[in-house]
């Protein structure tokens, strides 16, 4: 698996050769298109003491064409959760508009003081993704689910195969290669989370977005950032200590403090020095 969303879920072409479709008879029923078209790249997220920060750039690519430069790939779901999506944008829209929005509306009908929290959204999404891959018609996304759950910050990943895992520092796509090592320097394990401040976490994620812009050819220098902070545990009874979750958004953020000036000192590609 590499950072190109188009190659997710496929054997590596350079090892196994391109997929040989010659045996596919035209009479075969039910072939699904197994490729994404309009795509988003990495999502990056990091836990800190009292919350979690998540970021994704605003680009939707069409192959190598930077087709849409104002796409929001982070979306708030309910009161406790932000979902960040990489991969196919049409599938992302489906996930939000056809599955999650109605889910939240239905949940609020009960009006019982309970709300779907980050772990609930995450379990639901991972089941949907796995079910679709079992129908050989996957939703071509990798998702990060960030939020507040049972008095703790929550962060976990789910992909088009239904693969799930959680860690205090996560990134999808190109970020899995480039951002995760950087984030792990700040946060090697779950125990480290309580020593990371909100400001440190934001700075670490911003640094990742910069490196990704330098090295990911499908990225953009404009991104969104969501900071979920919480206190307490959900409780419905009278007089119980109240849970408090806030989600702060920074949208249309431009990358700051880029380093390019050193390019002036680079001349030729070997012996040449002028």
């Amino acid at each position: 698996m590499n950072h190109f969303p188009e190659a997710w879920g496929r054997p590596r072409n350079d090892v196994y050769g391109a997929y040989d479709a010659s045996h596919l008879q035209s009479s075969m029923p039910n072939q699904h298109t197994q490729s994404p078209i309009v795509t988003g790249t990495s999502v990056v997220a990091l836990k800190f003491n009292g919350g979690v920060v998540i970021a994704a750039d605003n680009l939707a690519s069409y192959g190598s064409l930077a087709r849409f430069t104002d796409i929001e790939r982070l979306k708030q779901v309910g009161t406790h959760t932000v979902v960040g999506a990489g991969g196919d944008i049409s599938d992302m829209q489906y996930l939000h508009e056809k599955l999650l929005d109605p889910l939240i509306i239905k949940e609020e009908y009960q009006n019982d003081g309970h709300h779907l929290r980050a772990s609930h959204i995450y379990r639901y999404l991972s089941r949907v993704l796995y079910q679709r891959r079992c129908k050989f018609n996957p939703l071509w996304n990798t998702l990060l689910v960030a939020g507040w759950d049972e008095g703790k910050s929550f962060l976990a990943s789910a992909d088009l195969l239904g693969t799930t895992f959680a860690a205090p520092a996560l990134a999808t796509g190109f970020g899995a290669h480039l951002a995760v090592p950087l984030l792990r320097r700040v946060c090697p394990d779950e125990a480290a989370v309580e020593n990371i401040t909100r400001e440190q976490a934001i700075a670490a994620v911003e640094e990742c977005m910069k490196v990704l812009f330098y090295r990911d050819a499908r990225s953009l220098n404009k991104y969104s950032l969501a900071i979920i902070t919480g206190e307490g545990v959900e409780s419905v009874g009278e007089g119980a200590a109240k849970e408090k979750v806030t989600i702060e958004w920074k949208k249309d953020v431009e990358l700051q403090n880029q380093s390019w000036k050193f390019a002036e000192g680079i001349r030729g590609y070997g012996a040449q020095v002028v």
Binding site: E97, K98, D101, P102, I105, K106, E108, Y109, N111
Partner: protein, 272 residues
């Protein structure tokens, strides 16, 4: 209503049979069921809608605040029902499907008038067949949409549905209507309407079911935070609304004022 002479003639036994003078008695009996229900009212304001019901409490063993009579269907619509509770449950459940199907096709919330149309059509279909009976429910549908602003509709067991500035149904409807007519609708605010609604429900209760316990249930639809607001010439707010329970403190204050006005001798002029 069917006179004593028409009862027992057989024309009141089936939905799909008219009486010789062109009436559907099953629908009229359904209306009777509503007339026995707790009073429900709706008030259309310039910046939203208020719904209120007099929930009659049949037993002291019931948990206070349980068995709600006003339901949310989608984010921006509430339905207050009077009549048979199970019928009302089914009716609101259908309204939720209508709202959700609309969203699935059009990727936007359903306008209030379209919801009222759909539910009117649904209720009417239950007056046509011998295998079903009409809904023993009159539903007050309140909401707020982008194009029309605040909207208030009332759908009756016959399937008829009209738009209102102020709507009332249930056993205290006559008293409630009389009070609603005194209000300068729709030129009042939701905050004012909350107090008026509480007063009217208390007034109607006093008038019709004084001996019974009741709970006041109140919700409002107001502009959703972040939704684009637009003021019409007349001053009405437009935009997608949010239907939710009126905060406990406001209900308590409105109830306090309502009780005060009762003690003051019932039929006085309205005041702040």
């Amino acid at each position: 209503m069917p006179s004593s002479t028409s009862i027992g003639t057989g024309y009141d036994l089936s939905n799909s049979v008219f009486s010789p003078d062109g009436r559907n008695f099953q629908v009229e009996y359904a209306t009777k069921a509503v007339e026995n229900g707790g009073t429900a009212i709706g008030i259309r304001c310039k910046d939203g809608v208020v719904l209120a019901v007099e929930k009659l409490i049949g037993s002291k063993l019931l948990v206070p605040g349980s068995n709600k009579r006003i339901a949310s269907v989608d984010n921006h619509i509430g339905i207050a029902c009077s009549g048979l509770v199970p019928d009302a449950r089914h009716f609101t459940s259908r309204a939720r499907s209508e709202a959700s199907n609309w969203r699935k096709l059009y990727r936007s919330p359903i306008p209030i008038s379209s919801m009222a149309d759909a539910m009117g059509g649904y209720a009417q279909a239950y007056t046509l067949y011998s295998s079903v009976r009409p809904f023993g429910v009159t539903a007050i549908i309140g909401g707020m949409d982008e194009a029309g602003g605040p909207g208030l509709w009332m759908v009756e067991p016959s399937g008829v549905g009209w738009g209102y500035f102020g709507a009332a149904t249930g056993r205290g409807r006559q008293a409630a209507k009389a009070e609603l007519e005194k209000l300068p609708l729709p030129n009042i605010t939701v905050e004012e309407a909350v107090k008026q609604a509480a007063r009217i429900i208390y007034f109607a209760h006093d008038d019709n079911s004084k001996d019974k316990d009741f709970e006041l249930e109140m919700t409002w639809v107001r502009l959703e935070k972040g939704s684009a607001e637009e003021l019409e010439e007349g001053g009405a707010t437009k935009g997608w609304g949010k239907h939710e329970e009126v905060p406990k403190e406001l209900v308590a204050e409105a109830e306090r004022l309502a009780k005060e006005s009762m003690e003051g001798g019932g039929d006085e002029e309205m005041e702040e």
